[in-house]
């Protein structure tokens, strides 16, 4: 459960989507708030999913450990890609509507594997 909370929710779920004037700023702020962007150490690529976490948890329910499962439904996501590190980390954000593929452990998503159109 800790990994669900610590890894998955923190890094990959933002619902309702935090307000921001534009997608780039969204990424700059969210990557920092969620601890993936600080003093030159910034995650290169990250995807935020904007749906009730239950919608993603469902896909792992009753699944074997280490299963990789994809949601049937598409959800709004924001993909953040690092564009520069100096003087501060800046991202380019892109919004998509994608199916979400996760890795499951003990019935909970702990890993975001990929997203698909």
């Amino acid at each position: 459960y800790t990994r669900f909370r610590k890894d998955f929710l923190r890094k990959h779920v933002d619902f309702p989507r935090t307000q921001s004037p534009n997608n780039n700023q969204y990424c700059d702020v969210m990557m920092m708030r969620r601890g993936m962007s600080s003093s030159g150490r910034c995650k290169d690529l990250n995807t935020f999913v904007h749906t009730d976490p239950q919608n993603v948890v469902q896909v792992c329910r009753n699944q074997p450990d280490r299963a990789i499962r994809t949601t049937r439904q598409r959800f709004p996501v924001t993909v953040c890609k690092l564009i520069r590190r100096k003087p501060s980390c800046r991202y380019r954000g892109t919004q998509r509507n994608h199916r979400v593929q996760v890795g499951c452990l003990r019935g909970l998503p702990v890993h975001l594997n990929n997203t698909f159109p």
């Binding site: 004037p21 700023q25 690529l45 990250n46 450990d65 280490r66 564009i83 975001l112």
Partner: protein, 429 residues
């Protein structure tokens, strides 16, 4: 004073104003990502306009400001010669608002050096006012207008203004400004006329190979002393690499280049590699993430690593290099000439099979301090091999980045143990 993203609102600005007023030694104030609003800036201005205020740097990005704040900002610019940096991007200031701001720039009291106006909803009409301000402001060193829909006509006009202006501009950022190859001749003119220009960013503009060819004319000019060149997502293909190669192998001042998200492909990369073997190539940092590269170009890259002592940072993630490609890269990495300290191989189709070689590099290469292997299917087996390398006292790494790798609880335990065994090696996940 750093107060970014602190949930401050306009009410807090009264207190902030007092703080500014009673602390004449305050030099820097960061208030990014706080909902201050126009009302907040109004309160803040009382402190900012105090004669004893000697604030040098002010950050107000994403503070929910509109054109209504610009009159205040104009006053501050006109009254405070100590202010050298103003960052007001990500606020809907608009063309009308920034025109007012430019009036402040025109004031002889204003000694501004850095102006950041990214994402301010500016349009082509702003250029006339900007050019007038540039003419009046020889102190200006950095100008960022990224993410404003300026278009070619405006950018060309801006470039002509920059060439005429007496300011020794060091940084020009025009990313995502709606620039095409049409503007490149004029941007090139800035490059060949301003030896002061060290940092040019035109990423996220569809300049294409034709535009790049024109830019290179300016880049190759003896007057051009460019150090940092950001050309990500510019619609470049391998055809651009011929001209880029000439720049890499002749422009000794060039230190950092980003070519992220351009379809350079193996043939393009091979051309760049050829240039990077030239003794005049002093490039220190190269970002070629997501450039359509495969294992096929790795031999050329490896060859560079075995002769080039200048290259320190190589970002080659998001390319299908595979285990085969990375194994070849590692050969070059291990060469004593190679001074790479930061290597990014995220999402490169690497699996557990490659981890023995990577582990060997980690314990052999004393100057490799940062390695990113995120988003590769290394599995428990691969990650454990890397952990073993971290345990080795010969591993002098500072950061091992392992984001988005699916592993089991046994690996979690080992990582926790490593925090105690090797606290000096940060494993980021």
């Amino acid at each position: 004073m750093g107060l970014d993203d602190c949930n401050l609102s306009s009410n807090n600005c009264k207190d902030l104003s007092s703080i500014i007023h009673t602390n004449p030694s305050l030099k820097e104030l960061k208030l990014n990502n706080n909902e201050l609003g126009d009302a907040g800036i109004e309160y803040l201005s009382k402190g900012l306009l105090t004669p004893s205020c000697s604030l040098q740097k002010l950050w107000l990005q994403n503070c929910n400001l509109t054109s209504a704040s610009c009159e205040t900002l104009r006053s501050v610019l006109s009254a405070q010669p100590s202010l050298t940096e103003l960052h007001v991007g990500d606020n809907k200031l608009g063309t009308a608002g920034v025109k007012v701001l430019c009036q402040g720039l025109m004031n002889p009291n204003c000694k501004l050096q850095k102006l950041q106006l990214e994402y301010c909803e500016l349009t082509a009409d702003i250029v006339e006012a900007l050019n007038a301000a540039l003419q009046a402001k020889p102190t200006l060193k950095e100008l960022s207008l990224s993410n404003n829909t300026l278009g070619d006509t405006a950018v060309k006009q801006l470039c002509r203004g920059l060439v005429e202006a007496s300011c020794d501009l060091e940084l020009l950022h025009l990313e995502n400004c709606g620039i095409t190859s049409d503007s490149c001749r004029d941007i090139s003119a800035v490059l060949s006329n301003k030896p002061s220009l060290l940092d040019l960013a035109v990423g996220d503009n569809k300049i294409g190979d034709a535009g790049l060819a024109l830019l290179c004319q300016g880049l190759l000019h003896p007057n051009c002393k460019i150090q940092k060149l950001w050309l990500w997502d510019c619609d470049l293909t391998s055809a651009s690499c011929k001209d880029l190669s000439r720049v890499f192998s002749t422009k000794e001042t060039l230190l950092e280049v980003s070519l992220i998200d351009n379809n350079l492909r193996d043939s393009g990369m091979e051309m760049l590699c050829q240039a990077l073997k030239d003794p005049k190539a002093h490039l220190q940092e190269l970002w070629v993430r997501e450039c359509g590269l495969t294992a096929a170009c790795c031999k050329a890259v490896s060859s560079v690593l075995s002769v080039n002592k200048h290259l320190q940072v190589l970002h080659i993630g998001e390319n299908k290099l595979g285990n085969a490609g990375v194994e070849i890269l590692c050969e070059g990495l291990l060469h004593p000439n190679c001074n790479i300290h930061s290597l990014w191989l995220g999402n490169c189709d690497i699996t557990a099979a490659c981890c023995a070689t990577l582990a060997n590099v980690m314990v052999t290469k004393q100057n490799l301090t940062e390695l990113d292997l995120s988003y590769n299917t290394l599995e428990d087996e691969g990650v454990m091999k890397l952990c073993e390398a971290v345990r080795n006292p010969n591993c002098k790494m500072q950061q091992l980045i392992l984001y988005d790798i699916f592993w089991g609880p046994e690996v979690d335990d080992e990582l926790k143990a490593l925090e105690e065994a090797r606290p000096d090696v940060k494993i980021v996940s």
